[in-house]
């Protein structure tokens, strides 16, 4: 069979030549593991699609719908300097509570994990770093599990007796993650994280691209601190300047993200700032190019 990656790049080139140009610029920055990992991911993903009577063409279409959304949000963002929505109620109605929107969005997003340089690099950062914490992690929680890709990696990396819990506010996300991961060890919770409380503490919490979805990100980090064991680790990612249909909190700079980490009483173990385009930092600031920030945090001892 043809390699899925070739098929995807070719199909996108026919359907959206301008976007294909942008994607191809990224290719030069993928590392040597990329082709093997991406092709094996897509092979698995295609299998899951088939079970659901869908094909890769369906996902490519979802991905391009997501890109069309991002593009129109970007036009508004560059015009006004703001995201189009600012309250949780708005995006809940516009996105999370709409299975049809959520479905193409999550399929689009999972595709982007292996098509966007910064998404791919963040996943590598996570899978390269998590092994350090295997021993200390008896319980693992992922908040905003979405498509489930990060959780599937955690499942592969962590010990067999680690308990795994997932929370998401969208039923579509939970169903997708379940189908993608297919493992009975995971306990899924359909809940707003602010309402999640099962009196347990977790040794490791992952929060991937959720902070920009809440009205008060500081409050969310503080909430997660209460769910984290004393020596626990929080891995989180969030972008700056990244307009999307469900983003409400705008971080203008990485400095603003680091500030709320401190304010919430966390210390940074390691961090990464990944530019979504290969441009100089000056041009990135001028053109408001998104930076995906990710960090492993622990509770700060002083607080």
């Amino acid at each position: 069979m043809e390699q899925p990656l070739n098929y995807i790049y070719q199909k996108i080139e026919t359907l959206s030549p301008m976007h294909s140009k942008k994607l191809k610029k990224n290719i030069a920055f993928f590392d040597e593991r990329y082709y093997e990992q991406a092709n094996s991911f897509f092979a698995r993903y295609i299998n899951i699609l088939h079970h659901d009577h869908k094909t890769l063409d369906y996902s490519i279409d979802c991905y391009l719908r997501m890109i069309a959304d991002v593009n129109s949000e970007t036009v508004e963002f560059l015009r006004t300097g703001k995201y189009t929505s600012s309250t949780f109620a708005e995006v809940n109605q516009r996105v999370y509570a709409r299975p049809e929107t959520m479905e193409y969005y999550m399929h689009g997003l999972i595709m982007s994990q292996f098509l966007w340089k910064h998404h791919y690099q963040m996943l590598q950062y996570f899978t390269d770093t998590l092994p350090q914490y295997i021993k200390a992690t008896k319980s693992y929680l992922e908040v905003g599990v979405g498509h489930g890709l990060y959780l599937s990696k955690a499942l592969e990396i962590l010990n067999d007796n680690t308990t795994l819990t997932a929370v998401d506010i969208s039923e579509t996300s939970i169903t997708l993650a379940k189908n993608f991961i297919k493992d009975s060890r995971i306990n899924y919770n359909l809940k707003d994280i602010f309402e999640f409380n099962n009196r347990k503490k977790y040794d490791f919490i992952t929060l991937g691209e959720v902070l920009e979805h809440v009205e008060d990100p500081l409050k969310l980090l503080q909430k997660l601190k209460t769910l984290l064991s004393d020596e626990g680790i929080l891995f989180f990612t969030t972008p700056t300047n990244a307009p999307a249909i469900d983003h409400i909190y705008l971080f203008n700079t990485v400095g603003e993200i680091q500030d709320i980490i401190k304010a919430a009483g966390f210390e940074i173990e390691t961090e990464r700032s990944l530019l979504s385009e290969e441009v100089s930092p000056e041009r990135a600031a001028k053109l408001k190019i998104a930076i995906l920030y990710g960090a492993f945090l622990k509770k700060s001892k002083a607080s």
Binding site: M18, H19, K21, K22, K25, S72, T74, V75, L78, R79
Partner: protein, 80 residues
């Protein structure tokens, strides 16, 4: 403002946004002719042009131009 002046201003915006001072636009230029003109840069260009000319394009327009000449026509219809 006549079309050749608009073209010249648009050319300057392309040079600035795409960071390439070798760009020479004609009415026939398409995205295929300019290496850096991809989907994201297209949006950057559109918004920079809007700001420069103090105009607003519709979302249909933004996706409709097949070449620089059509873009210049859209601008020309709005600035007098």
């Amino acid at each position: 403002m006549d079309k050749s002046e608009i073209l010249k201003t648009v050319n300057d915006i392309f040079i600035d946004v795409l960071d390439d001072d070798t760009i020479v636009l004609t009415y026939e230029t398409t995205a295929n002719d300019v290496e850096e003109w991809d989907s994201l840069n297209h949006i950057q260009l559109v918004v920079a042009i809007e700001k420069q000319f103090r105009i607003r394009f519709t979302s249909q327009e933004i996706q409709s131009w097949n070449n620089v000449g059509e873009l210049v026509n859209s601008i020309s219809n709005r600035v007098h």
